[in-house]
């Protein structure tokens, strides 16, 4: 009999040596005269267990991990092909608490299916949303997305349905759907996992958007740091097109939708939507002033829906199961689920999809298992490089857009970076300013010059005799950046800086009182 073994092809598995494990499995099977079918699946998102090798058994898939190529002979000796016990045994993968405690809607297929298999996608609920869409009027589709309460998952949390309605209401020879896959935030990888692991979900979401608003062309702007994501999306688009899910006649609807992948070129600020449009148009990624809104005058001056990968990837399940189903998850105006990404100095880093409303403490302790170094967790940056550092006193605030905004923080794209007590928060605050100086597009003064002045001022807090004066300057500068910048790059860099200053004054060599001047 033949055995089926799954080894993920996600970048995080490859970086941990998944290809070497596959080679070792083939070699060992050949040496033992066993017939083995090794399949490459997406990742379950439990990255401390990668490469996670799974074997198909009558009880379900049984996992082993993290497997190094040196472990492979002993796995065979332990009869892992029949689920045998081994020091790396994890039991039935679906029952691992980290997975069992999640609410996977968008990431339901992640780690289970083979990324490019159209059969796998269809067998696990794929294309249902698109089929429903084809049978509906575009305005009803827009209404469904509005009713779901889906908000932009890229960070700004703007209601997706309102953008769609605006674009649908325009008259233009050409409208566009642009997917922002420029996932540059440190601590985030849900877009990468989606593109590498479940590309048809994104394609389906974009096709639904195109049909709903009357756009016949879509672009996916993917960062150059994600070569595997780019390659997978390109192949998936070609396969979806030949199967009739994209192209001149989407599912026989008589409507066209074509998709093009655009490779970015390493500019962080191109994750800002108007800078991204400039970049797709072949220019420097300089932020545009708004208005005009991209929904009215976007790509090449035409009405354009711009959404993040996870926003668009959330649409198929909304169109498959209905707005009410999706809206049932979450709290208040934060409806649905968010794939949180636990990263940095954390024991069990990975992807946790849960409804809004759980707390940081649950993510850090129940899922994450505390710091990887074993030292106490000191600060947690939520929402990427432009998000605030959240001290332990705020770990019990529910993760929803409004509750986080109320305490001067952001949920953003759901990235969570953990630092232990060896972190120096003044250094990290300086880094935030430095990163802004490196990546600023240069169009507005608060961001272009403020970031460099910010670095200098933080340095002077450390060396100056009159520290209070420097703190006053820094706060004043942050105020200018917050209110005077053209986009979130300069406008949110003060979040990490001020939160570090407010919660960790000692790292700046300050007494609490000194840090509070202004």
């Amino acid at each position: 009999m033949s055995f089926t073994v799954f080894v993920p092809c996600d970048s995080a598995a490859l970086a941990a040596g998944a290809d070497e494990v596959v080679d070792a499995i083939h070699k060992e099977a050949a040496a033992r005269g066993l017939a083995i079918d090794v399949q490459r699946n997406s990742s379950r998102g439990m990255f401390w267990l990668e490469p996670l090798v799974e074997v198909v058994t009558p009880q379900g898939r049984i996992g082993y991990g993290p497997v190094a190529f040196e472990d492979v002979p002993s796995l065979f000796s332990a009869d892992f092909l029949n689920g045998g016990q081994h020091p790396l045994s994890l039991g039935i993968t679906d029952q691992i608490p980290y997975l069992a405690k999640q609410q996977r809607l968008t990431f339901a297929r992640m780690g289970i299916t083979r990324p490019l298999s159209l059969d796998d996608y269809a067998a696990h609920g794929g294309w249902v949303g698109l089929k429903n869409t084809v049978a509906m009027d575009g305005s009803a589709v827009v209404q469904e997305v509005l009713d779901s309460g889906l908000r932009g998952r890229g960070g700004a949390a703007f209601p997706a349905g309102i953008k769609w309605r605006t674009v649908r209401g325009t008259t233009a020879a050409q409208k566009y759907v642009v997917c922002n896959a420029d996932e540059g935030d440190s601590g985030t990888f849900s877009d990468r996992m989606t593109m590498e692991g479940d590309p048809y979900m994104l394609i389906e979401g974009m096709a639904i958007a195109g049909l709903a608003v009357g756009a016949t062309k879509g672009y996916i702007y993917i960062r150059s740091e994600y070569p595997h994501g780019i390659a997978t999306m390109q192949t998936a688009i070609a396969m979806a097109e030949s199967a009739g899910y994209l192209g001149a006649n989407v599912l026989g609807s008589g409507k066209a939708f074509h998709l093009i992948v655009r490779k970015a070129a390493g500019s962080y600020v191109c994750g800002e939507e108007t800078a991204m449009l400039e970049s797709i148009e072949g220019k420097r990624g300089i932020v545009r002033a708004k208005p005009p809104l991209p929904a009215l005058e976007g790509l090449f001056g035409q009405p354009t829906v711009i959404n993040n990968v996870i926003t668009l990837a959330s649409v198929p399940i909304i169109m498959a199961k209905g707005a009410a189903f999706y809206k049932d998850f979450g709290v208040g105006r934060s409806t649905g689920t968010l794939p949180f990404q636990i990263a940095g100095n954390i024991l069990q880093g990975g992807l946790v999809e849960r409804a809004f409303g759980l707390t940081l403490r649950e993510l850090l302790i129940d899922f994450g298992g505390g710091s990887r170094s074993g030292r106490p967790i000191k600060a947690v940056q939520v929402g990427g490089p432009l998000g605030a550092y959240v001290p332990e006193s705020q770990w019990d605030v529910p993760l929803d857009y409004e509750a986080y905004a109320a305490m001067g923080a952001v949920v953003g794209h759901g990235g969570i970076v953990v630092h232990d007590d060896s972190a120096n928060m003044a250094k990290l605050a300086r880094y935030a300013m430095e990163f802004c100086a490196i990546e600023s597009c240069g169009k507005c003064t608060p961001c272009r010059i403020g970031s460099t002045r910010g670095m200098e001022t933080i340095d002077r807090i450390g060396t100056s005799k009159n520290k209070e004066q420097q703190v006053h300057l820094l706060r004043d500068l942050c105020n200018t950046m917050l209110h005077g910048s053209l986009c979130a790059m300069g406008g949110m860099t003060p979040y990490p800086v001020l939160s570090a200053l407010n919660h960790y004054p000692a790292d700046f060599g300050l007494e609490t009182k000194e840090a509070q001047v202004l």
């Binding site: 401390w48 655009r262 797709i280 220019k283 490089p385």
Partner: protein, 160 residues
């Protein structure tokens, strides 16, 4: 670069320019193609690109120099990218960066004197749950500690 090598290079650039000429917003895809083929975008190609896409040379030069990904000079035999973003910092990437400079014998954005290595900072490879991350050529490595980086660089010496 001598003239015998320069000729096919210009021909290649012309060919790529023509391939992209009718594409909306063609400049970035074209620059990627050139860099993928040649390893960098030679200054001598700017005029041909500008003419082919009906842009000014300043616009082309501006785009090449704006984006971190595009290089105007040839990289070393091996390009080593060390992630310096927050998630990697939290697990020791700054110490790793200092070690990389020492092992490779060059600073960031530079190529070692023997032409073997180019060291580049990168701000996120999307491997933030298994940091620190390093990319060598097109191969990714996660959870890179000092010993692992030393071993990886050693292994490059043998494929010199």
């Amino acid at each position: 670069m001598n003239s015998t090598q320069a000729l096919p290079e210009q021909a290649l650039i012309q060919q790529l320019v023509q391939q992209h000429a009718d594409e909306p917003g063609a400049l970035l895809p074209l620059l990627h193609d050139i860099q993928d083929k040649l390893g960098f975008i030679p200054a001598s190609s700017v005029a041909a690109i500008a003419e082919g896409l009906n842009l000014s040379r300043a616009e082309v030069h501006g785009v090449i120099t704006y984006y971190h990904h595009f290089r105007s000079t040839a990289p070393g035999k091996h390009v080593i990218q060390v992630c310096r973003a927050e998630a990697c910092q939290s697990c020791g990437s700054e110490e790793l960066w200092a070690l990389a400079e020492k092992l490779l014998g060059c600073n960031g954005h530079e190529t070692s004197a023997n032409g073997m290595y180019s060291l580049e900072p990168v701000y996120c490879l999307g491997l933030c749950a298994s940091s620190p991350a390093v990319q060598i050529g097109d191969k990714l490595h996660s959870r890179v500690n000092q010993a692992k980086l030393t071993r990886l660089v050693k292994s490059l010496e043998s494929v010199a």
